[in-house]
């Protein structure tokens, strides 16, 4: 009965029609059964379910595992039906049970030949598993041609094919003003200046757009913007995370600068990846010669790059409950960063058990981990502070020694002045000592404290106030001031010593030969069989040496990095190009950029993804070449409006329009700084610290603390607080509010894709936060300064800066009506002051709420004519609206 019911339930199967073993049955067995029955060293109950032919045996109590044609005589089915199996894990759902029964009933046939002979323990990878799309070599797709649009390039042809299959076509091209804003924000993270927009709109030459892209790619802001994307997947932060302390990681910024420089230089990505994974090995650097190597200008870049392998959270330098666990977690996080950023695979679950869905075994995981073991050996661990190298050069050292010598001489001089002055005083003070004891007292005073005899000590104590060996300021303030001034000279001189910079570098110890073992259930305290370094077996079998005799290091990471960048790796090109595509188009071709496995989504345009991956290698791994190719496409240049495509494809998986989207956190802040004229373009260097204000916000600036170490204020006087967001200190536990409000990711350990939210606290930030209000006033002051005599021109300029267009006549009229009302309001608030000393800041004035009972009563002198500062306040209050509009916050 039950069986019959289940069979009916099995999606439209006829009794005689068998489910396909490879595609329907084996995945069920892998999900529920083979973990115990086959993949462990000893199959449970002697039953191995990895191959069909293994199922011809018997269970421990002698009943047949499988009787083809008769589910009731198959323990494989009855035990599962009765809920006895699987012993652990979730029960097999009914539709899977039904499929299993149907397959047995139809004769339990296989659909793919099985290998002969015994199988070693572990995951059995069938031809079918190997045929999963993302494990296939990248192929060169055949490019479709369109008779009506023969000019379409490869990207457009592949996208249009899919669109036409749904009776759709591209949206028309976006207008030039939209295009320049889109491309500029996309490549630089900043809006175009009005002059740039005007010039581009006016440029009728056929290559105007291509020239625009070239100009943007050459801009230093390009590296700042695209570095941020890479820093997300690489898990960059300026603190160590993991422990509650979240201590500062003071030299991380050198890696950030390395990434910016590399991207601006269009460093080929094969090199870029090799440097990050093995910059030490590329330069034959180990612990033995790292100190000298970091001072070598030809090597420092590649060595700085290796900080990539130490970017994840690491609590081993702080107080943690279990240090061994913290070390192993740090290694696991590093592996996660490497695999998700470069291959788009999630391997983390294979740390504890064979992957339940993808053909990745636990042995695979620990073979991959063994690639990194020589440098990340948890038995020979280095804390974050220990794995840095000094950037002090010999010249720096010599200079510091010379300065120290001079300073010491000054100190000696000061000490002598001090003593001499006291000696003079002593000649007065000794008169307090009875004459008979004076000689002995003089000797005792001149004897160092530690060498005095008991009698001498007693004598000094007896006439304590006579000794005059300290406290010069009490006797002779003028003399003391001279000494203090002298000492200050030494301090000032010492401050001129070259500062000792440090860089985080990953190197292997000399003769590294770590024990690489599989950790039972991921537990480092339960090591099992030894493993040798290797790639995940499903992805290929490159030669990775245990210890390369030609290198001073083991050569493991270098071999792995070369394999990843060989052009033959099935995932690297696809994963990277998918992410670049995602940033340009708002959605990946694979919509799960961190999971190219079975649980991830399938590519919407597999041929396109392969085309891009192949093309990337062809261009010599040039990211800028790929930007060019993507951004010059018609697909990219489409308008965001395509009603037919939107109705049929709301997720825009077919790319039949440009996807309108909100700016990310950094771009919102940077754009506000840019349009208000406040942006400090200084590049590189130590991060701008963030501090906590009394009302709980984190803002750029320096925390000023009182004697109790409480923060009393955040000093924002430095122009550094107006630098681009990529230079703000990235604290894992306390990100800047302006960024956190707009979905800055948690770096725990990295971020594969940012999820953007739309919540009321963002609106409150835009309505009430000091940062926005101040930028709005800056914007008002800027346009007033640019158009001092023409108030309408001021408004138009603010619109162009923030909206990318001028207001219509009606919009201008509406704006001016509100502006007049705001002006009247601020004029009442402002005490009359000459323009000359008008401050841009409003003093906080208590205004009672505008309830009917108590209308606000101005307590100031009568309103004066529009002064400069009232104008700034009033126009600023509406400029703030311009910064809060959807048009400003989105790119379309």
């Amino acid at each position: 009965m039950l069986l019959a019911a289940l069979l009916v339930g099995a999606a439209g199967l006829h009794a005689a029609e068998s489910p396909d073993y490879e595609t329907q049955i084996r995945p069920i067995l892998k999900e529920h059964c083979t973990h115990c029955h086959g993949e462990e060293e000893k199959p449970k109950g002697g039953v191995d379910l990895r191959l069909r032919r293994f199922m011809d045996g018997k269970t421990e109590d002698g009943s047949p595992v499988l009787t083809p044609g008769d589910p009731e005589k198959s323990a494989l089915w009855t035990l599962v039906r009765d809920g006895e199996m699987p012993k652990k894990g979730k029960k097999m759902p009914e539709h899977q049970l039904a499929l299993l029964a149907a397959w047995i009933k139809a004769g339990a046939k296989i659909s793919e030949d099985e290998p002969a002979g015994p199988l070693p323990p572990g995951v059995y990878v069938s031809k079918r598993d190997r045929s999963f799309w993302s494990f296939q070599p990248v192929t060169k797709p055949t490019l479709p041609r369109f008779a009506d649009q023969p000019e379409l390039g490869p990207i457009d042809a592949l996208v249009r094919t899919k669109l036409q299959a749904k009776q759709l076509d591209f949206a028309p091209e976006a207008d030039p003003a939209t295009l320049i804003r889109r491309a500029t924000i996309d490549l630089t993270g900043l809006p175009p200046t009005p002059a740039e927009t005007v010039a581009f709109v006016a440029d009728a030459s056929p290559d105007a757009y291509a020239k625009l892209i070239e100009r943007l790619l050459a801009s230093p802001a390009y590296g700042e913007r695209w570095a941020r994307h890479w820093l997300d997947v690489a898990g960059y932060a300026d603190t160590n995370g993991y422990a509650d302390a979240d201590s500062v990681r003071p030299y991380a910024w050198r890696y950030r600068d390395y990434v910016i420089r590399s991207l601006n230089a269009d460093k080929p990505w094969d090199r870029f990846i090799q440097e990050q994974l093995a910059g030490d090995e590329l330069n034959a650097v180990s612990a033995a010669n790292v100190a000298a190597a970091v001072l070598d200008p030809s090597k420092i870049d590649a060595l700085t790059a290796t900080a990539y392998l130490r970017l994840g959270p690491d609590g081993t330098g702080d107080t943690v409950a279990d240090v061994a666990l913290a070390k192993n977690q740090s290694i696991a996080d590093t592996l996660r960063i490497v695999t998700t950023s470069l291959t788009g695979l999630t391997v983390a679950c294979a740390q504890c058990h064979d992957h339940r869905y993808d053909p990745i075994s636990q042995v695979d995981y620990f073979r991959l981990r063994a690639v990194f073991d020589p440098a990340l050996d948890w038995r020979k661990w280095q804390t974050p502070a220990q794995r840095t190298a000094s950037l002090y050069t010999a010249a720096d050292k010599a200079k510091a020694a010379e300065i120290e010598k001079q300073a010491a001489a000054i100190d000696a001089e000061a000490a002598k002045m001090y003593k001499d002055a006291l000696d003079v005083i002593f000649e007065q003070k000794i008169l307090e000592v009875p004459e008979a004891e004076r000689a002995a007292y003089r000797v005792a005073r001149n004897t160092p404290v530690a060498k005095r005899t008991k009698e001498q000590a007693a004598l000094i104590k007896k006439y304590f106030s006579a000794q005059a060996t300290f406290g010069l300021d009490l006797y002779d303030k003028a003399a003391d001031n001279k000494v203090v001034a002298k000492r200050a000279e030494a301090t000032a001189l010492r401050a001129k010593k070259p500062v000792e910079g440090r860089v985080s570098v990953l190197v292997e110890p000399v003769n590294a030969s770590p024990k690489s073992e599989l950790h039972h259930r991921g537990d480092h305290a339960q090591p099992r069989q030894a493993v040798t370094p290797g790639e995940l077996s499903i992805l290929g079998n490159p030669v990775i040496p245990v210890d390369d005799p030609k290198l001073p290091t083991t050569g493991r990471r270098l071999a792995y990095a070369k394999w990843l960048t060989s052009g033959d790796h099935p995932l690297v090109g696809r994963a990277l190009m998918n992410r670049v595509w995602m940033h340009h188009f708002g959605r990946g071709i694979v919509n799960t950029p961190g999971d190219f496995g079975l649980l991830g989504e399938r590519p919407s345009h597999p041929e396109l993804l392969d085309y891009l991956a192949g093309r990337f290698v062809e261009t010599g791994w040039s990211l800028k070449a790929m930007h060019r190719e993507m951004m010059l496409s018609r697909t990219y240049r489409q308008s965001a409006r395509n009603d037919a495509a939107q109705a049929a494809d709301p997720d825009n998986a077919l790319f039949g329009r440009y996807r309108i989207r909100r700016l990310d956190a950094e771009t919102i802040r940077d754009a506000m700084l840019a349009v208000s004229g406040k942006l400090n373009p200084e590049m590189y260097g130590e991060p701008v610290t963030v501090g906590k204000t009394g009302d709980g916000r984190m803002i750029p600036g320096v925390e000023i603390r009182n004697a109790n170490r409480d923060v009393i204020k955040v000093d924002t006087s430095s122009p550094a607080v107006y630098r681009r967001s990529v230079y703000l200190q990235q604290r894992r536990s306390g990100p800047a509010t302006a960024l956190a409000t707009f979905d800055l990711p948690n770096m725990d350990p990295n971020c594969e894709r940012r999820d953007l939210t739309t919540v009321a606290p963002q609106s409150l930030f835009l309505m009430n936060d000091e940062f926005v209000i101040e930028r709005a006033k800056d914007l008002a002051a800027r346009v007033i300064k640019e158009h001092p005599a023409d108030e309408n021109a001021q408004v138009r300029a603010a619109w162009v800066l923030t909206q990318g267009r001028e207001p219509s006549a009606k919009e201008l009229a509406d704006f001016n009506r509100l502006l007049a009302e705001q002006t009247e309001h601020f004029a009442k608030l402002k005490p009359a002051k000459p323009v000359a000393d008008a401050s841009l800041k409003v003093k906080p004035v208590k205004v009672k709420s505008t309830s009917k009972k108590a209308a606000p009563q101005p307590t100031f002198p009568a309103p004066v004519a529009t002064t400069q500062d009232v104008r700034v306040e009033a126009l600023g209050s509406l400029c703030q609206v311009l910064l809060a509009t959807n048009r400003f916050l989105h790119v379309d």
């Binding site: 009914e94 999971d595 109705a647 409000t741 739309t758 919540v759 919009e811 306040e873 509009t885 959807n886």
Partner: protein, 484 residues
């Protein structure tokens, strides 16, 4: 073909189609509809529905109107709190005789760990609870204790996603998003779905705890800070208060309407327009809602406000009640990180965790009851997993802990249609596997939605041609036995 309404206003669709001016009125239209002045939802625009937070009626009458989830991330130890196992005491220190499914963590051991704590019976129902939960004992007759929870999903992230979203992959809607999608909000002054964080900041898995997934973004949870100010920037600067800010909003509405008219059907743009309207009203309402200073002394004492061990959690539970009172549909209160993940030192860690949460959690149930709100409010207390009967970290009693167990764990629920004074389901004699009346996460979701008046397989969202549900086409059972 705009629908003329009795009061002379047009339908929302008309506003949207009217181009330059229309959407500026969306906020107004929303308000009117929330005030019951406008009729049922209008036809979809461009084939895409317009989504809102208007209060909606469930398909059948239901008790539950709101929910407070006291989410206990990390995996509270059921055999030390909710599920007494004398067998463990008897076998303490000996080798566990059966198979144990360990998770991914260090220091596994096969030695049985008997609970350090005694259990006793509470209430008329005689519910057995640990001495670590004395206050919960006081409301035993009002809660339903489920001892047979099971997810089978290892790892904290996947486990949390399973119990919050019904799926183990990221990017799917959470229960709170589903409930607000289904029922909208009873307040226009506060977010429909509020998440109260711990003072330490974002939880380990950040906004995955309150994600709207592929539901429109207005159904996303709004994260608020644990400590004052709970919401940053709630006050306009003095110079902008009142009329000046109203004028700002007037300009903003007009500009956003013009922009949205050029991008019809973009739900994110609509969501932001609505979020400004909400933010404007929150300025007036949220401060009052989050301010507990007006609560009488006996209520503050009931929750434990001012007590060192539980002050923070007490305040948040009390605020949760105030939010539900004011019409918030779904409140989630978070613990710190994965604090219940007691792999080691359970003997010292668990009493502190209980001291921080027991009194406030029980007070929430009692307080809702005395206000007549418990019948319409589901209170949920539970995490994403439980713990094993064997000890972990065999380095002395002080360091003993327990590893993950997803095959049998406990949670309790109260109010909103759940039976009080009921202990439901059993684990085996070791507390390892749920064996009787098993409730997996799909069953829990189906039962929870049932309390709100929805069939779990009918409350669906259409996406790319598929009708998606919280229970994700899994076999889910409404556990009628625990419903009043």
């Amino acid at each position: 073909m705009s629908t003329k309404l009795p009061n002379g206003l047009c339908s929302r669709r008309h506003f949207l189609e009217a181009g330059g001016f229309g959407l500026g009125m969306l906020g107004l239209a929303t308000l009117l509809r929330q005030d019951g002045l406008l009729a049922a939802p209008v036809k979809p625009l461009l084939g895409n529905e317009v989504f809102d937070l208007l209060p909606k009626q469930p398909p059948r009458p239901a008790k539950a109107k709101a929910m407070i989830s006291l989410f206990m991330m990390g995996g509270p130890s059921q055999m030390d709190l909710f599920d007494p196992k004398p067998m463990l005491t008897k076998w303490h220190g000996q080798k566990f005789p059966g198979d144990i499914k360990y998770d991914n963590v260090a220091q596994a051991s096969a030695k049985v760990l008997g609970s350090f704590w005694k259990f006793s019976r509470h209430g008329k129902c005689g519910m057995e609870l640990s001495e670590l939960l004395p206050h919960l004992g006081g409301v035993a007759d009002d809660i339903c204790l489920i001892r047979s929870m099971k997810s089978g999903v290892n790892n904290h992230l996947q486990g949390m996603l399973a119990v919050q979203t019904g799926r183990i992959t990221a990017g799917n809607p959470t229960m709170g998003a589903w409930v607000t999608y289904a029922l909208g909000s009873e307040t226009k002054d506060l977010p429909a779905y509020v998440v109260m964080g711990h003072p330490s900041g974002l939880p380990t898995f950040a906004n995955q705890h309150w994600s709207n997934g592929w539901l429109p973004s207005i159904y996303q949870g709004t994260f608020v800070r644990a400590t004052a100010p709970h919401i940053l920037n709630l006050d306009p600067p003095a110079a902008l208060q009142g009329k000046p800010q109203e004028r700002q909003m007037e300009l903003l509405r007009a500009m956003n309407a013009e922009h949205a008219a050029n991008h019809p059907g973009e739900t994110d743009l609509q969501a932001r327009i609505q979020s400004y309207e909400l933010a404007g009203r929150m300025q007036l309402a949220a401060k009052e809602a989050f301010d507990i200073s007006s609560e009488p002394k006996h209520v503050l004492e009931l929750y434990g406000v001012g007590r060192k061990e539980c002050d923070d959690y007490a305040r948040r539970c009390l605020i949760a009640r105030r939010l539900v009172e004011r019409g918030v549909r779904y409140v989630q209160v978070l613990n710190q990180g994965q604090s219940w993940d007691n792999h080691g030192s359970i003997k010292s860690a668990l009493p502190a965790l209980c001291a921080a949460t027991d009194r406030p959690s029980a007070a929430l149930v009692a307080d809702l009851k005395q206000r007549g709100l418990l019948d319409s409010t589901i209170v949920h207390w539970g995490g994403e997993m439980g713990r094993l009967p064997v000890l972990q970290n065999d380095a002395g009693e002080a360091k003993w802990g327990r590893d993950h167990n997803t095959y049998g764990f406990s949670q309790w629920v109260a109010g909103g249609g759940f039976k009080g004074g009921l202990t439901y389901g059993e684990t085996d004699e070791w507390g390892h596997h749920a064996v009787k009346d098993v409730v997996n996460h799909y069953d829990w979701h189906a039962t929870m939605l049932d309390c709100f008046g929805f069939d779990h397989d009918k409350l669906a969202f259409k996406r790319n041609g598929a009708a998606l549900t919280l229970t994700n086409n899994q076999p889910a059972r409404v556990v009628r036995e625990i419903l009043a």
